[in-house]
Amino acid sequence: MATASNVTHSHPSPERMSADLLRPLLQTSWRFYLLVALLGSIVAAGAVAWVTQMFFGFGISGIRWPIYWGFYVTNFVFWIGISHAGTLISAILRLVNAGWRRPVTRCAEVITAFALMIGAMFPIIHLGRPWLAFWLFPYSSERLIWPNFRSPLVWDFFAINTYLTGSMLFLLLPMIPDFAVVRDKTTGLRHRIYRTLALGWRGTPKQWHRLESAMSIMAVAIIPVAVSVHTIVSFDFSMAPVPMWQSTIFGPYFVAGAIFSGIAGLIIAMAVLRKVLRLQEYLLPLHFENLGKLLLVMALLWGYFVFNERLVTYYGNEPSEMTVFWQTQRDNYAPLYWTMVICNFVLPLIILGIRKFRTITGCVIASIGVVIGMWLERYLIIVPSLGHKYLPYSFGSYRPQPAEITITVATFAAMCLLYVLFAKVVPIISIWEMKAGDHPSPSLIPPATEHHKLGELHL
């Protein structure tokens, strides 16, 4: 089994690299069209469900008093969490100059861009009259209603849009040199399109320095923004006087959970790309092992937060909180709760904690478990608390209806569809960064010691 210590970094030649990474753009098989048709039809079903919901109203959904936040807000928090896979991880790896990041960063950044777009749709889907969403914007209407700037929902608007804008730019900037490569390798209409996208990129030292400086600045800026986004999403809950929500630990708990689910999403995406696009020489077992270790660390951190949250609630013994607490520990929601614990903690601990199991397959199994577990976690934060607020007269239950289930499934299909289409038009692994790995910066070459000969790389 390949491990971090024994994998050699012998990349293919520059020509081979360009050919391998451009192959998905230049060749199209029938499988691509079949997959797009399949995913597109699921997305279309989701669109039909949404239009149906708009036409008939929220009565056809399971959302009713007292649980006004069901699947849609669960999905909103889940997808915003998944979005932390990309830009945050990529930015951290860029700043610490981790050489193994090169084939991983773009796969990750794409997840951020698309997951944020999907996540940001849910507040709109959750509106009864989504065509009036512009009422949320600050403008001087004749109704004299201005957004309440002290509301966490307005913070969401600014945080998510800042993160989305930053992430899109963080994804797009390093794509420019790769667009130039595609421009040089294509003809006709495709050449003209990529010539436009390449923005006249040539590759002078000045352009490389400016690009790398810009990426460094954006990495520095995007890390606190990413942390703030999920902290602010947690504020949507913790600012409300609802049992089990008003907790000071929610900010870091949500951020840790977001990174946790994000890494899991990234591992799954990388494994699929590796298999489908035949990228075995680029996405190495080393990458999965390193991300697997990160996932293991996050599983431990997640377990620590959950333990803290539950123990403090238990010792507080506040009646309304204990009602929700027991709902999740031994009553109605216990099966979902313990499934979540197994998926998010037990499974990753066993699979990723034992080196023998930390293979690509092992990492993917653990990641699928984490994605399921983290979706359940969001559901269990929202529904039991809203259904058990203080006095029994306000207790209620929630049962998702076909419209909500269809829209939820459609968003997963939308994520896959966007990813497939992206991989068709943009090299999913950054060609120039891979080539740069063969010409590393002198700062990556350690000084000569008794153990290392000068020039030996330890990326």
Partner: protein
């Protein structure tokens, strides 16, 4: 003649070509070097490194912060809603919007600076698609007619040079 240049497979050959052009009396700003990846382990890869992009990003952040404070002030004062006894102008919640727009300002300023200072969007300059195959281009744009032969001789001298003119 618009340009004379040579393509090199090896960075060391490109470095030699750059050194030879400098020895002819050419300044760095007159020498064009193009590669398909950053070549920071060679001296020519350090050309044009200085920039004020960090300062411009900070200035962009200040602009974003000003916009955030202005927007929050105008919005809150135009319709002073009483929310849970918070003051109309409440610092704690405003800090969040201020932080987000400060970062957005820095990010946008960075991108604009990159586009402007890296000359993106400007076409018609010296380039050869062979660069995408891993070659490094070293050349001189708009060379004086009397020096073309000298330039060609120096560019051709390093091993593996493929001399071209446009």
């Amino acid at each position: 003649m618009k340009a004379v240049y040579a393509l090199y497979r090896e960075g060391s050959s490109a470095q030699e070509a750059v050194d030879r052009l400098r020895a002819l009396g050419l300044a760095d700003r007159d020498i064009t070097v193009i590669s398909s990846q950053p070549m920071e382990d060679y001296e020519f890869g350090q050309m044009d490194k200085a920039s004020g992009i960090w300062w411009i990003a900070c200035a962009g952040g200040l602009v974003g912060m000003s916009i955030a404070l202005g927007l929050a002030w105008v919005s809150e004062m135009s319709w002073p809603i009483n929310v849970g006894g918070l003051p109309t102008w409440a610092w704690w919640p405003n800090l969040i919007i201020t932080f987000e727009l400060t970062m957005l300002g820095a990010i946008i300023a960075t991108v604009i600076t990159l586009v402007v200072t890296a000359g993106l969007g400007r076409g018609g300059r010296l380039y050869d698609p062979e660069v995408s195959n891993g070659f490094i281009l070293v050349g001189v744009e708009n060379p004086p007619d009397g020096r073309v032969a000298d330039l060609q001789r120096e560019l051709e001298a390093p091993s593996g040079a493929q001399l071209r003119t446009v």
